[in-house]
């Protein structure tokens, strides 16, 4: 794809360093926010940022991991690449978790790492690490810049690759001498990537096959993945589903692609999905997967997954089609383009009244449930109450674990790009910094970080950023004094041998918040929560709520590992 270079908006400076060229290139990409942390190998870059005062907002996190998770949150909510800068060696290696997380969840990031000067590369110089080698398996693409001449082109390519096709992280490793030295000439030509031409438009014949399958189907089901959200296909999906009355379920990352409160929505499917959604997958005769990758947490044992169904799979990444589940109707396409073509061709919907009746009966008979002693703080109740208190309008971020599943089950998302969670990699410590990024992307929207007491302690140093910026992020610690999901598995599969999962010692989170000059409060009863949540949400500043919930609560329903999607436990009290 050819991209025309923009004319320069700034007057030509007499002398420019490679770092100045980098800053110009970032401006050309309309970057507004950068998350980063300075260090030796990026000193020239930080100097250029300093001199370009006012062009960017640079968010100094307190750890590189905080920077990259914040960039992920930013990317998920803003729908454009998050930009991160870190130094060589430890700066770069501290980013690794976030890069892998973005790779798994297809988030567009451009990650700029410093590198030791080319004169000492390969000598085990101070703060040298093989960033190209380390990040190759966890990036969509990576570059080590060889000269300041090629820098503008590399940055253009990096943004293009990160944000098109199936999005993903791109690392640009820049040796210190290249950013420091003056450069006289740069390559401003348009880039051409012959090896990267994503298929955007669907094959109409495959869509025709799909329309025929829909017509014939007695038990159709749509599965939404994050691809619907990346492709901005929610509206057209809703039109099609409503017009032909096709029920919809979702993966964890696809939540929000279809309105959570809609009558056609069956809830999330998968390991902790609803009974109705999982049984629908087990029994449907046509499964239309739009932009989901059939992850094992969704499918359970593949021998039982959608065995009665014709499987149609729309994905922009051809490698996902047929990877885990044999596919009858493969459609390589952008989700919106595929659905637009489907809408055009589809004239007749399925005849499936019986199926809808069956699903509605399941919905009535097997809703999500929990025991709710009113004197206790029940985590599921907490999520439901939060949903009502925010009218489902908040941007919600989470870590991984029990609180994540409860949030997914009980916080119902009405629209896309409001749900920021670490799905594929399952990263503890993701939620809080991601909320910072999300808040920066949408300064006026309510942002709630739902985190566990375990995960929060992995990245809580970023409270400094809230303090510094006054970002009105609301932190809800679902505090059960345990690594809840680990504890749940130990209870279920390891005979209650709670090895290292009950964490009795923890800081006083309220005092901790106060030490950062952030409002903190401890919540121990439902009444306390109900009394204050509206005030908290309306408060124009950060608040930390340490919610002490029942430790022994488990996430249900559940498909045990190795079991089929129909073999749920805990579907009824």
């Amino acid at each position: 794809m050819k991209v025309d270079t923009k004319p320069k908006t700034k007057p030509e400076a007499a002398v420019k360093t490679g770092a100045d060229i980098l800053v110009e290139s970032l401006l050309e990409q309309k970057v507004e926010t950068i998350f980063g942390y300075p260090g030796g190998a990026v000193l020239p870059i930080y100097d250029a940022l300093y001199r370009s005062d006012g062009d960017f907002e640079h968010i100094l996190t307190r750890h590189e991991q905080g920077a990259i998770h914040a960039a992920e949150g930013y990317a998920r909510v803003a729908g454009k690449p998050g930009v991160v800068i870190a130094t060589s060696g430890p700066g770069a290696t501290n980013l690794v978790t976030g890069i892998a997380d973005a790779m798994m969840d297809s988030l567009p990031l451009v990650v700029i790492t410093g590198q030791v000067a080319t004169s000492v590369t390969g000598t085990d110089a101070f703060q040298e690490a093989d960033v190209m080698g380390i990040t190759t398996p966890i990036t969509k693409h990576n570059y080590q810049v060889q000269s300041s001449y090629e820098l503008p082109k590399v940055i253009k390519e990096a943004f293009h690759i990160a944000s098109t096709g199936r999005p993903g992280p791109v690392v640009v490793d820049i040796p210190k001498d290249i950013s420091a030295n003056l450069c006289t000439e740069t390559d401003q030509s348009a880039f051409h990537l012959p090896g990267y031409q994503p298929t955007i438009k669907p094959n109409p014949l495959q869509i025709k096959k799909l329309t025929e399958a829909i017509k014939k189907s007695k038990k159709p089901l749509i599965l939404t993945g994050a691809g619907v959200i990346h492709g901005h296909a929610s509206d057209i999906l809703l039109e099609i589903a409503e017009e032909y009355s096709i029920p919809v379920t979702s993966t964890l990352l696809g939540l929000g692609a279809f309105p959570g409160q809609h009558d056609l929505f069956l809830g999330m499917a998968g390991m902790h999905g609803t009974y109705t959604a999982n049984m629908a997958i087990a029994e449907c005769d046509l499964l239309i997967n739009i932009g989901a990758r059939f992850d094992d947490r969704l499918t359970g044992n593949l021998n039982y997954f959608a065995k009665n169904a014709t499987v149609a799979h729309v994905d922009i990444d051809p490698a996902e089609i047929g990877k885990n589940v044999p596919t009858d109707i493969p459609i390589v396409s952008d989700s919106k383009a595929a659905l637009a073509e489907l809408k055009k061709q589809l004239k007749e919907g399925p005849d499936h009244e019986e199926w809808m009746d069956q699903l509605n009966q399941n919905k009535m008979a097997y809703p999500l449930w929990y025991n709710n002693p009113p004197e206790e703080m029940v985590p599921q109740w907490l999520m439901k109450s939060l949903y009502h208190a925010t009218r489902g309008e908040a941007i919600v971020t989470t870590d991984v674990g029990q609180h994540q599943m409860w949030a997914a089950q009980y916080y119902s998302f009405g629209r896309p790009n409001r749900w920021v969670t670490s799905g594929g990699l399952g990263t503890m410590g993701f939620g809080f910094p991601a909320a910072i990024g999300a808040q920066l992307a949408k300064p006026k929207d309510p942002v709630v970080a739902i985190v566990g007491d375990g995960g929060f302690q992995m990245t809580l140093q970023e409270l400094s950023v809230l303090q510094e910026r006054g970002l009105p992020v609301k932190i809800i610690i679902v505090n059960n004094g345990a690594l809840g999901m680990v504890r749940q598995w130990q209870e279920a599969f390891y005979d209650k041998r709670y090895s290292e999962s009950i964490v009795g010692v923890q800081p006083d989170f309220v005092k901790l918040a106060e030490s950062y000059n952030i409002r903190g409060m401890k919540i121990e009863t439902q009444k306390e929560f109900t009394d204050i949540i509206h005030e908290v949400m309306a408060y124009d500043g950060p608040v930390l709520m340490d919610c002490r919930v029942l430790q022994q609560e488990n996430v249900y329903p559940m498909i045990a590992p190795g079991k089929g999607i129909h073999e749920m436990v805990g579907v009824k009290p």
Partner: protein, 173 residues
């Protein structure tokens, strides 16, 4: 099953690492790999001989290779009419006694002696892997001091026969 796969790539730093890394990650067993420049500047060609369990895995392999930004074209040559060659250098123990004997023996293989010393001689042979194996077996009794093999490289023949005839041309199936 064994497959011969070629990948035409942009000759950039890290591309070999990226390609072999993804094979390692997805547990494809590489038997041999050869890389060299092509007729176009800046473009290289890699030839892999890999073991894959089934067709689904094979499809994954080609798709994952294709997904890499620097990979321009992936071809599975296994079911095509192809020309495939490998080169081996074999150093065997030999004194004046054996020299003629070895020379006679390698002749049908169209191998040649490319280096002679007091107590060894070096043989160069080109061909399909099974031919090279056969020669190595014959030379083994003399005492092999060293072997260097390039790994297989291959491309499709200029003329492709009809589908029905094709399996007989397949090299490795």
């Amino acid at each position: 099953m064994k497959r011969i796969i070629t990948a035409v790539v942009q000759n950039r730093s890290g591309v070999l690492n990226r390609v072999t890394g993804l094979m390692h990650k997805r547990q494809f067993n590489i038997e041999s790999i050869s890389v060299g420049r092509t007729e176009t500047e800046g473009i290289s060609k890699m030839t892999f001989v890999v073991h894959v369990e089934d067709h689904q895995k094979l499809e994954q392999l080609t798709k994952q290779l294709n997904k890499q930004i620097d990979v321009l074209k992936v071809t599975d040559l296994s079911d095509k009419a192809i020309v495939a060659r490998e080169l081996a250098l074999i150093k065997v123990v030999s004194n004046a006694h054996h020299r003629n004997e070895i020379q006679g023996m390698i002749e049908p293989f169209r191998a040649s002696i490319i280096d002679v010393s007091k107590d060894s001689l070096s043989i160069q042979v080109t061909g399909k892997p099974d031919k090279i194996e056969a020669l190595i077996d014959l030379l083994r009794p003399y005492g092999i001091k060293d072997i260097a093999r390039t790994g297989l490289t291959a491309f499709a023949r200029g003329h492709q026969p009809q589908v029905a005839e094709m399996t007989s041309y397949s090299l490795l199936k």
